[in-house]
């Protein structure tokens, strides 16, 4: 009798607690995902009632007939490599912050500051810095009698300028993640190395680094996902210009859907992006484990 009652109560809890979340997740996560796959095989324009099945046409178009897609992926690559090159620096800074030098708490606060600022506000700040007329960077160049640079107007430079904004904004989160990893290490590990007389660098490389591998892996994964999805910064600062030079994959996908009304193709692009993220993460993980 008592047992039955408990069991009934359990089912009641499960139903009441999970009912709303499960509906929300099914409706706003799972259903759109299935719809995304389904629509990627159609030529739907986003408005009309009929959705014509076109098979693999969209995917073929992306792979073989869309050079602009590959150019945009190359732009994503610049963000990816930029952030990747910064990871050792971020690791090193986190390691230094962990050692609680004087003021290190204050520096931790400062390091993470950019991440907290509204992305659009960050973009506004850098629009001024990069501006070709009264811009801060060009005034500095002029001061040193150097030529002005079209930070946002030169197609060969714009992606690097935007990557700079991304680095400014997002490096802090990596540093905080690494720092959290350092602080979770058992202290006797570091103590032992001190007794052995290991230098700071050796201690870092041989003892600390292998032990925070999981967090490094997470950061590497976040970097793949973040760099391939970068949207706000190019969209707000240049809206993909000049002449599509700073379009990233996501900017192009969103424009394909909402500007050129080609939802079917945009859905196929979303799936391609998902596959690229998965493949890239796997390759990176394999390479990382090979090295480590």
């Amino acid at each position: 009798m008592f047992k039955n009652n408990v069991k009934m109560q359990k089912n009641l809890v499960l139903v009441t607690f999970l009912f709303i979340p499960t509906i929300l997740i099914s409706l706003f996560m799972i259903y759109p995902l299935i719809r995304l796959v389904a629509l990627s095989f159609t030529s739907w324009d986003g408005l009309s009632l009929t959705k014509t099945f076109v098979g693999l046409t969209n995917f073929k178009k992306i792979l073989f007939d869309s050079p602009e897609v590959w150019v945009s992926l190359k732009n994503n690559g610049i963000y990816f490599v930029g952030h990747l090159l910064f990871i050792p620096i971020e690791l090193f800074l986190a390691f230094l912050l962990d050692q609680r030098v004087r003021y290190s708490k204050m520096f931790k606060t400062i390091t993470f500051l950019p991440y907290m600022i509204n992305t659009v506000a960050v973009c506004c700040m850098f629009i001024f810095l990069y501006s070709s007329q009264d811009g801060v960077l060009n005034s500095m160049l002029q001061f040193f009698h150097m030529d002005k640079i079209g930070w946002l107007s030169d197609p060969n430079i714009v992606n690097y300028s935007l990557t700079g904004v991304s680095l400014w904004k997002f490096s802090g989160i990596h540093i905080i993640l690494f720092l959290a990893a350092f602080q979770s290490l058992p202290t006797d590990m570091i103590e032992a190395s001190i007794i052995d007389g290991a230098s700071t660098f050796k201690q870092f490389y041989h003892i600390v680094l292998p032990n925070i591998k999981p967090v490094v892996e997470i950061v590497l994964f976040l970097n793949v996902r973040g760099a391939l999805q970068i949207f706000d910064i190019p969209y707000v600062m240049t809206s993909g210009g000049p002449n599509h030079a700073s379009e990233t994959f996501t900017v192009q996908t969103i424009n394909t859907a909402f500007q050129y009304q080609n939802f079917g193709l945009a859905c196929a692009m979303a799936i391609v992006l998902m596959i690229i993220i998965i493949i890239f993460s796997i390759i990176q993980k394999k390479l990382f484990n090979l090295k480590g």
Partner: protein
């Protein structure tokens, strides 16, 4: 725990001593360099917000304004509806944080305390949620939002922020796992129902975690530009982010001093949150990554 922390402090002091005082000075210099890179763009923007357009052209960007001239701010307040933006952002934050923390703890309670059929599916969805690129999958969610009639209402972002955030459920799950089941069992012995256990015991115990995750969520919502931009084009539904985005192209606010003033206004809420709740923010980020 306390003792452990003490030991850690001791050893870190040892490390810094061993690496020598010369290294200490270098470290401080490095930190100052980093701090300058972080703070200068912010400082330049704040300075610019108090200057006139001719001053921007003729003065060094690093020169502090001669007087606190609030003309730009007045102009921004006149030509944009900052208060509506602020109100909308606040509604989104409060609704999303409250609903999300309730739903997430309920799901986490079920996941950590009971065995049921959907359990495996939930963990599978966590994994999927990690891989899917949120920005592009929005394309297929878009049609759904228009169909259920929430397009261009505050409900659209609230549903997405509150209902489809798997990461939060996942982290709550980690926190709830740390509460021993014996706590529930002894309450059960005293005749408490599962509902009472959740509401009187589990929920109060995760309040510190809720504070942490809620603050992180609030910052995410405040700083998000993409979802409100996509789902709420109406002027009366602008949030702080989309309002600022609009300022960039609006000729009344697009000049550098006025844009700077608008950016400063928009960055204030999250910076206030940051300076008050810093500790929670850091521990929340650490919880997401390190507690595997």
């Amino acid at each position: 725990m306390e003792a452990n922390l003490e030991i850690k402090k001791e050893t870190t002091i040892n490390i810094t001593r061993r690496s020598g005082s010369g290294g200490g000075v270098l470290k401080i210099l490095l930190f100052i360099f980093i701090a300058a890179i972080v703070i200068l763009p912010i400082l330049i923007t704040v300075f610019a917000s108090f200057k006139t357009l001719p001053q921007i052209g003729s003065e060094s960007a690093l020169k502090p304004p001669t007087s606190l001239n609030f003309e730009n701010y007045k102009e921004v307040l006149k030509s944009t509806n900052v208060f509506v933006g602020f109100k909308n952002s606040m509604i989104l934050v409060v609704a999303s944080v409250v609903i999300n923390s309730l739903l997430s703890t309920m799901v986490a309670y079920c996941l950590t305390r009971f065995d049921f059929k959907l359990k495996k599916a939930y963990f599978a969805i966590f994994l999927v949620g990690l891989i899917i690129p949120g920005i592009v999958t929005e394309i297929s969610r878009f049609g759904l939002m228009t169909n259920i009639g929430v397009y261009d209402t505050l409900l659209a972002p609230i549903l997405i922020y509150a209902g489809a955030d798997l990461m939060q459920i996942y982290i709550y799950n980690q926190f709830l796992q740390q509460i021993p089941v014996s706590v529930d069992e002894s309450a059960m012995m005293d005749g408490a129902s599962y509902f009472t256990i959740y509401w009187r015991i589990i929920f109060p115990m995760v309040i510190p975690a809720t504070a942490t995750l809620g603050i992180l969520k609030a910052v995410d919502v405040l700083n998000d530009m993409y979802i409100p931009f996509l789902y709420m084009p109406g002027e009366e539904h602008r949030t702080l982010s989309t309002l600022l985005f609009n300022c960039i192209t609006d000729p009344r606010t697009s000049s550098i001093p006025k844009l700077s003033a608008a950016a400063v206004i928009v960055m204030i809420p999250t910076l206030v949150i940051y300076f008050i709740f810093q500790k929670y923010i850091f521990s929340g980020i650490a919880a997401g990554a390190v507690k595997e």
